[in-house]
Amino acid sequence: MLRSAWICSRCLFRAIERPSRRWQRSFRTTTRLSHLSENLLTRARAIASEHATLKKQLEKDYDVQTAKRAGELSRTADLLKELERLKDALRELDNLIRDPTTDNELRSLASDDVSDTNSALETTTQALTNSLVPRHPFEDLPCLIEIRPGAGGSEAALFAGDLLHMYQSYCVNSGLPYSLLKYEDADGVGDPNGSDRQLTEAIMEVNGTGAYGKLRCEAGVHRVQRVPATEAKGRVHTSAASVLVLPSFPDDHASGEDFNDPKSDFFIDLKEVRQEVMRARGAGGQHVNKTESAVRLTHIPTNTTVSIQDSRSQIANRDKAWRLLRSRIAQIRREAREDEMRDMKRSVVGVAKVGRGDKIRTYNFQQQRVTDHRSGFSIHSLEDAIEGGSSLEQVMDSVRKWMIDQEVAQLVAIESNNT
């Protein structure tokens, strides 16, 4: 049966053995774009034309403010110029190669040039994209991935376990260190290293720099379509699991984020948190010997609750719980802000909103297909994707590209509305 193929522990070890250098390299650039989307181009052209206007203005009479603004825009303008030059060159080379009158030696020289020009084009495209899109402020941070089964009963719980396994393998493949903050299955005693028990909740912390930037595209509802192992009649079931990705702040020194600064998203007023620990029943003290070390924190204003009971040490549980609570609260605040922004934009220009509850990806076992509904990208190597292989990276990359495109589209929309 299919299941055993990707649930067994051997797969995990296989994944560890697999040489991964090739793909670490591809990670250095967050997104590989072979072409620019219309949105990016539109925005780049708008900036280039503003740049041209400012320069003309400066020739007439010099003004520091204008010069400064022109300076800011010049990088994009220059890159766009370079991009257009490269495209022209490519077109010419292409014509040359197609032209039947071109002699063979020249044609082979031209084909050599094509590949050089193509790679230059890719670099420039990347640089141009970077110059247009504001970096996500938490791009460089480690992150937390929370996985929970959704509708679909035990099959959903199994799928949630598969997703956890997928991200664990992905981390191994891409050299990102990770640890499990919380792992609970129906028995509460599952083996995080590849049990086939039903997951109820898992939280993993991915520690490499840039982990949040790489993995934030995974947040949302993932859907699976397959014949469950338990289904006797061979019917295909559809179930889902939700994935939450939060930036994680290991401690306030490392991240440069000051938890005591009320302006920080991570600031939490101690008075607004209720801490519950499992207390001994009855007299306490020498009379009882309790083993409960669970800690539950509730942020009263947002009614956000986290509970951790992984460790026998209550202090360790408390520290983990605080870390989690801070990340969640910060996320809530950020989302509230983003929603506000989005509403504002929509009211002017009608940018499509992707709700947090919408499904973002489907894993169809019958067709061995993974489709991301945001980027529209499909790949027919499901086994590899679900093993955290390079197919998953391809899917993720399509989403990162899509996300950039969305952001740029919003910028374009806002700007065209302002002018």
């Binding site: 522990s9 509460g188 306490g284 003290g285 020498q286 009882v288 026998r312």
Partner: protein, 380 residues
């Protein structure tokens, strides 16, 4: 033993181990946690013994089963796993020595943190005596919290810590715990707190001594009395006295203690001898369970302690002990701390109109101070 609720039995019908653990844990959540911890323990024991690298090797399974069977009989988890977390540190445990309790850790942590916040007032050497030390958890945690919270800008005082217990097993385990903690520091960065901890652990020692015996009267087993030991180590003066002595009356032992405590932890660590039976000098109308306190207060005076921190069973015992302390009229202040002294902040309630009570939870400690102790605790 009461039967388990039917729904729990049904929920766990697929997992016989969980069912075993439920007998002692009574709720599913803690049974699950315990099963996870026991499982990790079984796997790592097998790995350490036979060097099996593969976790999927099944040889730990019989071990896990026998651990669960023992747990089901009421044997404390900490004895099975060999340790307990006490505040910020892990302490080795073994049968015959009382398992440290979180309430004690809370009081010690709060106490050490408070002293640190009065860093400017503290003397350059601080001597701490822990009577009835058991696993040694109190001095070990005290120095840890102290080192961790000490303000960077100042040189920490030289800590000198001594623990005493009547049980040879306890003294041995306490010394073992000191060494474990010391080992855990090697290889760590040389940050100020590590440095301070290393020094404090170097000047920590545990001795066998009978706290209840008056001076110069060795008990029948030949265990020396405390004052004789202190004279032998040539440190007659102590700044701080901490003690979590046996404080449960025999009636309460049968009525209020958890079954696994009653059956598996040493009774001498929980129930004191009847008042007056060992020391004709103490008053005969002392409550059962209070035996140690007059003696502890006397020792505090004899060694010149500036602060005394004593654990008690509840608010009633706290009030009785506070009254005993007040009767000596040597203390400038007496306060009762609850389980979570930081709990409700600085609000103090009056208890029986006599002693202030701090924090939330059960009445848990009695604190007395005098002289410089007043400044160290910032009680002005």
């Amino acid at each position: 033993m009461p039967r388990l609720p039917y729904h729990l039995l049904r929920l766990t019908s697929k997992s016989p181990l969980l069912q075993l653990l439920l007998r002692e844990c009574r709720d599913l959540e803690s049974a699950r946690n315990e099963l996870r911890w026991l499982r990790e323990h079984a796997i790592s024991s097998v790995q350490n013994a036979g060097g099996h690298r593969d976790e999927r090797n099944d040889s730990w399974k019989p071990l896990l089963r026998s651990l669960c069977v023992k747990r089901a009989s009421g044997k404390p988890l900490q004895y099975l796993l060999g340790s307990e977390f006490f505040g910020d540190i892990e302490v080795a445990c073994k049968p015959g020595v009382l398992i440290p309790r979180p309430e004690t850790a809370a009081a010690v942590t709060y106490f050490a943190e408070r002293l640190c916040s009065a860093a400017r007032k503290l003397p350059s050497t601080l001597r701490v005596l822990d009577l009835c030390c058991g696993t040694g958890c109190i001095p070990l945690l005290f120095q840890h919290v102290f080192a961790k919270n000490w303000p960077n800008a100042r040189d920490p005082p030289h800590l000198s810590l001594v623990g005493a217990d009547i049980s040879a097993d306890a003294v041995q385990l306490a010394e073992h715990n000191r060494l474990l903690l010391q080992q855990s520091l090697t290889g760590r960065s040389n940050a100020g707190s590590t440095w301070a901890s290393r020094h404090a652990l170097d000047s920590t020692a545990f001795f066998q001594a009978d706290v209840l015996r008056p001076e110069q009267s060795p008990n029948p087993q030949g265990i020396p009395d405390l004052m004789t030991v202190l004279r032998q180590i040539d440190v007659p003066e102590w700044d701080i006295l901490i003690s979590n002595p046996p404080y449960i009356s025999s009636q309460s032992f049968h009525r209020d203690t958890q079954r696994s405590v009653r059956l598996f932890e040493p009774k001498t660590a929980l129930v004191p001898p009847r008042p007056g039976s060992s020391d004709p000098g103490t008053s005969q109308d002392l409550d059962e369970g209070d035996t140690f306190y007059p003696r502890l207060l006397q020792i505090a005076q004899d060694v010149g302690a500036k602060i005394v921190l004593m654990e008690v069973a509840d608010l009633q015992q706290a009030s009785r002990v506070a009254a005993l302390a007040s009767d000596t009229s040597v203390w400038d202040g007496i306060e009762i701390w609850r389980d979570h002294p930081r709990g409700k902040g600085p609000h103090l309630e009056k208890c029986r109109g006599e002693f202030p009570v701090r924090g939330s939870g059960h009445g848990r400690s009695v604190v007395c101070w005098r002289g410089e102790g007043t400044e160290w605790l910032q009680m002005m």
